[in-house]
């Protein structure tokens, strides 16, 4: 267990290190200078110098990376360049919205994707199975923001079933849930298809295993075997994939938040990118990387619960 935690911590640090290093090295690789971009073409040399100093960019790259990481290690994400508010506070306000969005999306994916995949696996190569296959593949391929815009057009602008923008009125759970439906379905849609495919493939594989034959030889019904003895094993890769896929899930969430104007991490990152508010942007990146590592730990723990064979690795 200790070794496991150590490994996870190492991954967390390396994710941060690599992210930050990549960001900084891209800045050096690509022609153009952050200060000039931020201040526009008419800025004076002195203004640019001042901004560079404020962003710590007059230092060598390695020093910049080191300083940044040292600060993050103490739990301080820095200060908003424009309003001088602590980034921690901004992130703390945006994070719950994004978490709710991401978790609801995962909820939809599990609620719809797992039963669909399971259902398809029990009747392989039938018409129903093939239709589910084509639909799953389609929704996996479609970009979340295009789905978001079409959903907005049909259900909010056209049918007026759901609000077009915002996360609902603060304190009013009903309106918040109402505002959550479209965005979460949009983010979750590709995951519904993905989980359906994954569960189907995984179920078909487990159904071939010898213990399934044992259960059949003892006269248990196929239905009971599938739901009680096959699905719990087939679901193990689903959990791992959700853990690893949280990054791309958040990617979908960022764009969806922007389309539906939801005040979450993605919207915060986007707004601060537009206003060239570098510390806030870096703060959101750090937090998402941390979310990724946490999601992986959670996935490992859940899998250890599901499959006792995996407990030894912890």
């Amino acid at each position: 267990m200790l070794f496991y935690l150590f490994r996870r911590l190492l991954l967390a640090i390396s994710v941060l290190l690599v992210t930050v290093t990549m960001l900084f090295s891209l800045v050096f690789l690509v022609p153009g200078d952050p200060a000039s971009v931020a201040l526009g073409p008419r800025a004076t040399q002195a203004q640019k110098e001042a901004l560079r100093q404020r962003m710590g960019m007059d230092q060598p790259a390695l020093v910049q990376v080191g300083r940044f990481l040292a600060r993050v290690a103490t739990g301080d994400l820095g200060e908003d360049v424009l309003t001088h508010r602590p980034v921690n506070q901004l992130v703390a306000r945006a994070l719950p919205n994004t978490l709710v969005l991401a978790l609801t999306a995962i909820g939809w994916a599990m609620l719809l994707g797992i039963p669909l995949g399971c259902w398809a696996a029990l009747r392989p190569d039938t018409l129903a199975d093939r239709v589910i296959g084509v639909l799953s593949t389609s929704v996996i391929a479609l970009p979340a923001f295009v789905v978001a815009i079409y959903a907005l057009l049909v259900f909010s602008v056209g049918l007026k079933w759901f609000p077009a923008i915002g996360a609902g009125h603060p304190g009013d759970l009903g309106s918040q849930l109402h505002a959550l439906v479209l965005p979460s379905l949009t983010v979750g849609l590709s995951w519904i298809g993905y989980l359906a495919r994954l569960v189907r493939a995984s179920m078909l594989e487990v159904l071939q295993e010898n213990h399934v034959r044992t259960y059949r030889a003892f006269g248990l019904s196929d239905r009971l075997i599938a739901l009680h003895y096959v699905l719990p094993i087939a679901i193990v890769p689903v959990v791992s994939v959700l853990g690893v896929g949280i990054g791309s899930l958040l990617s979908g969430a960022v764009l969806t938040e922007i389309v539906f104007a939801r005040p979450g991490l993605g919207k915060l990152a986007y707004d601060s990118v537009i206003s060239r508010n570098f510390p806030v942007v870096m703060g959101t990146v750090v937090v998402t990387a941390a979310l990724y590592v946490l999601a992986n730990v959670a996935a490992d723990l859940i899998n250890a619960r599901l499959d006792p064979r995996l407990r030894q690795g912890l």
Binding site: L26, F145, Y150, A201, G266, V273, R276, V281
Partner: protein
């Protein structure tokens, strides 16, 4: 059951087949046919945009502002009166060039790094794998936004971002295949005779992985299209007045209530491009390796 049928040894590689045979296999399936038609149409639009497009994509006609579809302008006009159809046709140039350069660049870099990791010293492998895991953990769009904010947006920046993020997929495949090949007898034999093991690995890598990599590229193109159009949709990709599917979508998004025809039209090429390349990838995979049933990541 112990039927005495001699099973041929399972080949690790997709058998090398003629391109015509593979294409026939793809065409034989409904989704494969749909995919081929989509992809060929898009490529034709990209290649022959100046001849196909009925109007100038950047000519501003104030009188036609937000006009709906008409006989002259099939998909209507945007907020500056520009022809939406022509803008989308020209947009396929950006989309396809970014898609092929991005996926191709990722393939090339992934192969080189995968070979290095698989063949090089252990520490290098560890470092590269760690980098690969890290890249996969970052939401790409967020990272892309940051980079664009820092260095300004251009097509080359977008391609660079895409190469960075698409690389891990190819890297992993090439690395594991290299590790397998490295232990093969003929590599050991070749080294024993003084030949460079690496050259033997490289020579066997392409025939062994060609099919897999081709499928990976086809499956990655939808993601690349999504990133490019997504960034342009956020106003952080291709800069105006150049037409991109994402920027047309963004133009329409601002007028989604007054002129919904713009977003409806602008979404369609993205839908057809992503679906077309995905199903092409699937059909190619089935044609090259009928046994596999795996899926791609969203």
């Amino acid at each position: 059951m112990n039927l005495n049928t001699a099973q041929p040894p399972v080949a690790s590689a997709a058998p090398r087949q003629g391109a015509a045979r593979v294409l026939r296999h793809v065409w034989a399936r409904n989704m494969g046919r749909f995919a081929l038609v989509c992809v060929l149409l898009l490529l034709a639009c990209a290649l022959f945009a100046p001849w196909i497009a009925p109007h100038d994509p950047i000519a501003i006609k104030a009188a036609l502002r937000l006009q709906g579809p008409s006989a002259e302008y099939w998909l209507g006009n945007d907020q500056l009166g520009r022809d939406v159809l022509s803008r989308l046709i020209y947009g396929s140039r950006i989309a396809m060039s970014v898609a092929f350069l991005g996926a191709g660049g990722a393939l090339a870099c992934g192969m080189v790094l995968g070979l290095l990791a698989g063949y090089g010293p252990r520490w290098l492998d560890t470092v590269l794998m760690l980098c690969c895991d890290s890249v996969m953990s970052i939401p790409m769009i967020l990272f892309a936004l940051v980079v664009v904010a820092l260095v300004g947006s251009s097509v080359s920046t977008i391609i660079l971002i895409i190469v960075t993020f698409m690389m891990p997929g190819y890297f992993r495949v090439v690395r594991s295949q290299t590790l397998v090949l490295k232990r093969m007898d003929y590599v050991t034999a070749a080294r024993g005779m003084g030949a460079s093991g690496l050259s033997v690995v490289v020579r066997h890598l392409v025939p062994n992985l060609g099919g897999t990599l081709l499928v990976l590229v086809a499956m990655d193109i939808p993601a690349v299209v999504a990133i490019e159009s997504g960034l342009s949709f956020l106003g952080q990709g291709v800069q105006p007045p150049t037409a991109s599917w994402g920027s047309v979508l963004n133009d329409g998004y601002a007028f989604i209530r007054q002129a919904p025809h713009i977003v409806i039209a602008a979404g369609l090429p993205i839908v057809f491009a992503t679906l077309g390349f995905t199903f092409l990838g699937e059909a190619l995979r089935d044609a090259l390796d009928p046994r596999s049933t795996g899926g791609q990541r969203p």
